[in-house]
């Protein structure tokens, strides 16, 4: 049997222990689902795709933020135990569910909202695959906003003004995007209060990103652009 401790409650609460049969090829999400279906019907947790596309099943598993659908029990188990908690640094709703609204608000603070540089009447910007700025943007573009990096970052947990790795990674992709009409404004916001200057390069975001992205590289890149200026891109 697998011993599972699950956080029940909101900010006040306790870990409740459950025993779940050990099976071949179990994911952590399978375990939570088994507990909810067979032992604790009112357990609150969140999931959607179950295959590592949506990111909504992210929780803290044995101390580290992970997508539970892509975490094989054998890879994350500590002895015969699993400890499941909600993601850190987000307001808690109940049990394993957190409110991601403040996380998405950080995007606005980092200037990470796309503004087109051209209209439908203009010719499309010509961007080649080997363009250095495009390569920079491509390196961070696959982020699905699961908030695992945000939860992993100690600076986020210490500094409520800090925008966090996901929003700054998004800003990094935009300042390198020839199609973005406000590259300078995005860079200025990313350099502002709570922006990339607050990052201490501890690398928790990069180490825990389930997609294998490196927000650390993007944040360091933003700092570099602050000194060197934005890279040249094709004009529409």
């Amino acid at each position: 049997m697998l011993k599972v401790s699950i956080w029940r409650g909101v900010d006040e609460g306790e870990f409740i222990d459950y025993e779940v049969p050990m099976r071949a090829n179990q994911t952590v999400l399978d375990i939570v689902t088994e507990v909810q279906r067979n032992q604790e019907p009112d357990l609150a947790y969140r999931f959607a795709c179950r295959v590592g596309v949506c990111g909504s099943c992210a929780m803290t598993v044995n101390g580290r933020p992970r997508w539970t659908c892509r975490s094989h029990v054998n890879d994350v188990i500590d002895g015969d135990r699993l400890v499941l908690e909600p993601l850190r640094s987000h307001p808690r709703i109940r049990d394993l569910v957190v409110d991601l609204a403040p996380f998405f608000e950080t995007w606005k603070g980092s200037g990470a909202v796309f503004k087109p540089s051209a209209t439908r009447d203009d010719k499309p910007v010509k961007i080649t695959a080997d363009d250095p700025a495009r390569k920079n943007a491509d390196a961070g573009i696959e982020c699905i906003n699961c908030a695992v990096c945000y939860s992993a970052c100690d600076v986020v947990s210490w500094d409520k003004n800090y925008l966090g790795p996901a929003a700054l990674n998004r800003a990094w992709t935009l300042v390198n995007d020839a199609k973005h009409g406000e590259r300078k404004e995005t860079l200025n916001k990313a350099l502002g209060d709570g922006g990339c200057g607050s990052c201490h390069s501890m690398g928790n975001c990069t180490r825990n990103c389930p997609v294998g992205l490196s927000p650390s590289a993007g944040i360091a890149g933003l700092k570099k652009f602050a000194l060197r200026g934005l890279p040249k891109v094709e004009k529409p």
Binding site: F15, G63, S201, N204, A217, L227
Partner: protein, 118 residues
Amino acid sequence: MANNRQSMRTHKSYFAFVGHRVSGLLLALFLPIHFLVLGLALEGADALNRFLAFSELPLVKAAEWGLVVLLAIHLLFGIRVLMLELTDWPNSADGRTAWIIPSVIAALLVGVIFLAQL
């Protein structure tokens, strides 16, 4: 039961972050003492000589060794941060983590050289 959690902080770049910050803080604590001692020279040779005699005590020498190693660690980890933030990364996965352990070894070597000079 919920106490057997793995740490998300047990990796090299986190170690470098803590090493850089802690060495910086300890060096910051050292600096005022350093300036106070230098200030003793203004009060005359006797005061400074008394401190210099005190600094020959083995425990003070050991602390001095620690100071030299901290300074070297802070310098080397600081160079890594400057490289991260001022130069292009070879690829986005390369946070120069390969520099961290050699930096610690180099700092300890500086400590060995300091000991050899005694």
